[in-house]
Amino acid sequence: MSALSLLPARRPVPGVFVALTLTLAIGWLVVLLDGGQLFNQSTTVSLLHVAAGLGLVAVGQTLVILGGSLDLSVAYVISLSTLVAAETMNGSDGALLPAIGLALAVSAGVGLLNGLLVTKLRVNAFIATLGVGLLLKGYLDNGYDGPAGTTAPTLVQSLGYQRIGPVPLSFLLLVAVTAAAWFALSKTRFGHHLVAVGGDPEVARLSGVRNDRILVTAHVLCSMCAGLAGIYLASRLGSGAPRVGTEGLYDLESIAAVVIGGTALAGGRGGVIGTVGGVLLLASIDAIFNQLEVDAFFKQVIRGAIIIAAVAVYARRAMRKAAA
């Protein structure tokens, strides 16, 4: 999709954290001059909550993008998962674990479908996951007008609102999922193969990697991450919400976070740590704007500009390195 794939490898991880630090420093100063306080308890907590939701999706998205694929269906998987979880729980703690299991299983099923379409039927990932997303959208639009089901109280109290100091449990879940993904990518055969498939599928195939199996696995894991984000959102909202995924723009924002985090959109280069940096960057900008009481629509304009600018900076740096 871009000329970037022709350029040599780079180490993009620090870049996003430099940007994050700068953003937080400048944000802190501006908010201070405005008479507010950026790092108070409530702002930090809400920043981490925003990051937890987007982060779970983005970590999954990182896996498929690393493999040279893409998942545009995550927003619908999130909505579906909130409904499956909340309707199965129906307000009772007894059904908690089966409900979580079912939501993850349904998500995994969608991921499996995505993966098979991309690998076996060789449908372009953009179209395959867009198509599956539309299938789910039709189901959700047809079956639900508004919130449905009730989340188990225990889940709301734990994953939804429990925190240790300023750190919500959900953010710790994100840390755990990120650590697992990082481990899988850098220490296991699956991870090495996934990066190889994303870098050059033909070379990977010739070196004995089972491309299809690797990519299907990545798609299943990505969808399960989206399902997990759905369970988390259901625990925040207390019920299933048929449009929560699309209204949160989780499909596009998760891809943006991955790319800002330095993972190449064409695949083969990058990692989950950078993605978490990208997520924190987006969440911080959000928090700073909230503190400054910036108009919601203006916030969106700035966010669009920042996404483009961040990626442009990476592309520039990659070009300079290629020239050097």
């Binding site: 970037l4 039927l121 299938l135 959208k137 596009l252 891809i255 943006a256 969106q300 483009i308």
Partner: protein, 327 residues
């Protein structure tokens, strides 16, 4: 239409050239037969003409998206651009007929400008077009809400709305010919001529292999930027027709980018560029609209539209993918 035959395997059916318009014509014919069985009235000239007029905006968007896709990029900003154009038009015209033409001109300039910015960011700053146009999407939606404080203001003049909703009545044989259909025919002819010109060939070459094109002296960045400008102009034309037909709302263009991409893919254009025709893309859009009309006739719930749309894209692309990969 060229077909490729293999002499070594005489039993094989003649193959359809990938990217050709034959498959989409076949699907279109099947849908027309199905519609004819269920609702023969629909195929009578007047209602068919109205249908074509109503489909004009999405067909134009598909043509615009085709230019970008065949050159190897994406334009995800067209839906939000249409919304922005409609809202801007309503506020600037503010029901004053004398402002119609200046605003139409302004919309075209605005569309071209957004395309130019998309193109330059993608080609000069090397941001993947997926990200560029997604960012543009966020910027346009945010900006248009910001500018109108969350509710569309003003109104379109009757003269502006004429393009989208009026028609030449009492035309012999055809019954009525919507203005939108005439606009579509003219612009479609321009698109076809453009693709037959040197520019068209260059555009396809750029999408097929940018490196080769670059080495043979094509300025890839300029060609792709022009493709984005054409997409912006198509969005402006679509917005003028759509605003006229269905009026002003923040939902005017919602989801149209995916509709246009679906249409392009359905019409046999390869994502990633270099293959497929603009006629195929426009026929793809027509097929999609006909499919939705058919679903109405069969009483399928409107909410299930997207499920069927999803299934159709997957089917169309899977069939063409297995066909081209078994070459």
């Amino acid at each position: 239409m060229q077909t490729v035959q293999r002499r070594t395997l005489p039993l094989r059916l003649p193959r359809v050239r990938p990217g050709g318009v034959l498959p989409i014509l076949a699907i279109l014919a099947v849908l027309l037969v199905l519609v004819g069985i269920r609702q023969p009235d629909f195929l009578a000239p007047p209602s068919l003409m109205s249908f074509l007029g109503r489909s004009a905006p999405i067909i134009l968007l598909a043509a615009g998206q085709y230019f970008v896709i065949v050159s190897g990029e994406f334009d995800l900003s067209v839906g939000s651009l249409v919304t922005a154009q409609v809202v801007v038009a309503a506020r600037l015209i503010d029901s004053d007929p004398t402002r119609t033409w200046p605003v139409v001109l302004l919309l075209l300039v605005f569309g071209a400008l957004v395309g130019l910015v998309n193109g330059l960011i993608t080609t000069r700053l090397r941001v993947p077009s997926f990200i560029t146009t997604l960012g543009m999407f966020l910027i346009l939606v945010g900006a248009v809400y910001l500018w109108s404080d969350g509710a569309p203001k003003g109104g379109l003049s009757e003269e502006f709305r004429r393009f989208g909703r009026r028609a030449f009545e009492d035309v012999p044989l055809l019954g009525r010919v919507p203005y939108a259909l005439l606009v579509l025919l003219v612009l479609a002819a321009v698109a076809v001529l453009l693709m037959r010109s040197d520019f068209g060939r260059t555009l396809v070459a750029v999408g097929d292999n940018p490196r080769t094109a670059e080495l043979s002296g094509v300025r890839v960045w300029r060609t792709r930027t022009i493709a984005f400008i054409l997409s912006g102009l198509a969005a402006a034309a679509a917005a003028i027709l759509l605003g006229g037909y269905s009026g002003v709302s923040f939902q005017a263009g919602a989801g149209l980018e995916f509709g246009a991409i679906t249409a392009v893919v359905l019409g046999g254009v390869a994502l990633g560029g270099g293959r497929g025709s603009v006629v195929g893309a426009m026929l793809g859009a027509l097929t999609l609209e006909l499919l939705f009309a058919l679903m109405n006739f069969y009483g399928v719930s409107g909410a299930l539209r997207s499920t069927v749309q999803g299934a159709i894209i997957l089917l169309a692309v899977a069939v063409s993918a297995t066909r081209s990969s078994s070459r």
